[in-house]
């Protein structure tokens, strides 16, 4: 049998390691959007709620389980079943709405949206069309200049039109050889939050930065794991192009964007496609397209006009969803099953933007460093425990974690959870370095050793390798004397006023000691000796 993955719902799973740095994929074709065009981009994002059970049934939610094992009678739409809403899904929706500054509708409604797909057995999706859970939110994020990291990041704010609760469909595998569709309903009924943004974005880089920030927010509040490669965060983009001063052009919707990198590529390519059509005197069709990651461009999947008859109707099996606060909670029939906004507000953790601000203000580390720390799960806590353990210098610790530790972690393809190196051990290594027991370069050489099955202590490693810095003054004095004696021409140049040759002498000493001489001490001793010679 030959399976071709279905095109339009983001179920093409590949192992794509999310890039840990701000978007930086530059395509020479798209670096400069033609100046005579403006583009508008809005996103529709589906975030799978990280609940234990599905939105309307008690089936478990688990990625990559045996097909059709996580299916209840309701998920298979057997007659006589009724949906019973999962409290956690509502709480996740409210928490997300609070984190994104939305107005939460105290009463919202569920509606049926009709589709005819084999993986949607009821023939409709339960969603919130008339009155969604929340409206009028915003998402703020920083956009880094791709060409220069020195420039201040640009602050951006995109308005969110609404957040609605709905449920996911199953998955179809198309068997083109036997002309059949194989259906797995494990995903059918998993809770989703659909977030709809206003078209406040202009290009792919901005959209990718927004998706990254949203991913981070959802992970921080724990309502969605944000794994785009597993389809738990899926992005559709609405793109249109117009001449400045003219009304927005015809928009197309690009579906199936399933990695943050593709968000940028898919949107920039779609903008270019519009511009090319318009510059050749053509007309953009209002249609739905899918991003084909192999082709690197979008392809038309269906004609929106003909198929968009969703025949919305109120969902008769679900009464209105009421959200309470501390003043209205007494009206709830049973307060243990009621959702209380004020209780949830207290559960909101520090959000990414607040944490970034705190890290840069409180510890004085650069913004870029705080952003890198925040991209690895648990790394901020790791950083803070190293700093707090012995009130170590935060800048040194941050720099060391990012340039040395994280590099080694990534080289091993590990996450922080699998790291064999405890924060305590890194702290010790940093101390040995700042106290001058080992040089910076030696400390860097020790890091990879800690990632092997090393059981010896740091001191033992340093001893066995004979890596300790030479800090014995007498020893260094002798070394300096011999280097001076053997390089009189260089020394003479220095005495004659060429200060640059000083580093050459330093280098010679380090060469003789395989870099183990304490550079600070050597510098001091050498300088004193040379100045003395100058005076003579």
């Amino acid at each position: 049998m030959c399976f071709v993955q279905k095109e339009d719902k983001g179920e093409v799973y590949r192992k794509v390691r999310l890039s840990k740095t701000p978007v930086n994929v530059s395509n020479p074709l798209h670096t400069a959007i033609s100046k005579s065009w403006e583009s508008m981009v809005g996103l529709e994002i589906h975030a799978q709620i990280s609940s234990k059970s599905k939105m309307f049934s008690g089936s478990a939610v688990k990625f990559s389980s045996p097909p059709n094992s996580l299916v209840s009678f309701l998920d298979a739409s057997l007659p006589g079943t009724l949906p019973v809403l999962n409290k956690y899904c509502v709480e996740a929706g409210v928490l997300t709405s609070l984190a994104l500054d939305c107005q939460i509708n105290r009463i919202s409604y569920f509606d049926r949206k009709h589709y005819f797909y084999a993986d949607l057995p009821a023939g409709y999706q339960i969603t919130q069309q008339r009155v969604p859970l929340a409206t009028n939110g915003k998402i703020e994020f920083s956009l880094f200049d791709q060409n220069s990291s020195k420039n201040e990041p640009q602050k951006m704010c995109v308005r969110l039109k609404q957040i609605q609760l709905e449920h996911d469909s199953g998955k179809s595998l198309h068997d083109d050889v036997n002309h059949e569709t194989l259906v797995d309903l494990n995903r059918s009924g998993i809770g989703l939050m659909e977030l709809v943004s206003e078209p406040d974005l202009q290009n792919g880089s901005q959209a990718a930065a927004m998706v990254r920030e949203l991913q981070l927010i959802l992970q921080y509040i724990g309502t969605c794991d944000g794994k785009m490669e597993e389809g738990s965060l899926r992005v559709d983009a609405n793109v249109s192009v117009n001449r400045p001063g003219e009304p927005p052009g015809t928009r197309t919707e690009v579906k199936n964007i399933n990695s943050a990198r593709f968000v940028k590529i898919a949107i920039d390519n779609e903008i270019q496609r519009h511009i090319q059509i318009l510059e050749n005197g053509g007309k953009v069709n209002h249609e739905t397209r899918a991003f084909d990651f192999k082709l690197g461009q979008s392809v038309s999947i269906r004609d929106k006009e003909g198929f968009s008859d969703y025949r919305f109707m109120p969902e008769p099996n679900l009464p209105p969803l009421v959200i309470y606060d501390k003043k209205t909670i007494m009206n709830a029939s049973k307060d243990d099953i009621a959702v209380n906004i004020d209780d949830l507000r207290k559960k909101l953790p520090e959000l990414p933007e607040q944490q970034r601000q705190r890290l840069t203000r409180h510890y004085g580390i650069p913004l870029l460093h705080s952003m890198v720390l925040m991209q690895e799960d648990g790394l901020v806590e790791y950083f803070e425990s190293i700093v707090q353990e012995k009130s170590r210098n935060a800048k040194t610790v941050a720099d060391w974690i990012i340039t040395v530790f994280l590099k080694e972690l990534n080289a091993h393809g590990m996450t922080l959870k699998d790291s064999p190196v405890s924060s305590h051990l890194i702290g010790q290594l940093i101390d040995l370095m700042t106290d001058g027991v080992v040089s910076v370069n030696t400390a860097k050489k020790i890091m990879p050793i800690l990632f092997t099955d090393e059981t010896r202590s740091l001191t033992q490693i340093i001893e066995s390798k004979n890596w300790a810095q030479i800090r014995d003054e007498k020893h260094l004095q002798t070394l300096c004397d011999s280097v001076i004696a053997n390089n009189m021409t260089v020394v003479k140049a220095y005495i004659d006023g060429n200060n640059k040759v000083f580093n050459r002498l330093m280098g010679l000493i380090q060469h003789q000691t395989q870099g183990r001489a304490d550079p600070g001490l050597v510098r001091k001793i050498l300088q004193t000796k040379l100045e003395e010679m100058k005076l003579k």
């Binding site: 008690g58 209840s72 005819f116 084999a118 194989l182 797995d184 009464p319």
Partner: protein, 136 residues
């Protein structure tokens, strides 16, 4: 909760409410009938073949023969009688449950793992999958 207990649950939840409602019920005890004057109805709508094709596509049911169109026309005509009902000042109602808050259940996974049962009625299966026609 299995299917049966869910249905029972639904009914038992609704009963006390129905009883309370019954005391000041707005529902008449006896049904009353008004004859509808066909002359007051709007003109009968012609159903063209384009509409039929669209409905066939949405419903995935084929009925574009003469009998099918006749049946559809009769159904639409029957529904036309609703246009004569006086709804002046009546709030539209989505569901009889609309004045009740939605019941929420705790997030516990206690269903599923019943693949054989769920797939028992499927006409065609392959390994652990349902098999459907090659939709678009």
């Amino acid at each position: 909760m299995n299917m049966l207990t869910k249905v029972v649950y639904f009914v038992t939840r609704s009963l006390p409410w129905l009883a309370v409602r019954g005391m000041s019920s707005k529902i008449p005890k006896e049904p009353t009938w008004d004859e509808i004057d066909p002359d007051k109805l709007p003109d009968e709508r012609k159903i063209d073949s384009e509409t039929v094709r669209k409905l066939e596509r949405l419903a995935l049911v084929k009925f574009s023969d003469e009998a099918g169109i006749e049946r559809l026309s009769r159904a639409v005509r029957f529904a036309d009688q609703l246009l004569l009902v006086d709804t002046e000042g009546v709030e539209p109602m989505d569901t009889v449950l609309e004045d009740r808050a939605l019941y929420l259940r705790e997030d516990i996974a206690n269903e599923g793992f019943c693949m054989e049962e769920v797939m028992k009625n499927a006409e065609k299966t392959f390994e652990e999958y349902f098999v459907a026609p090659p939709g678009k």
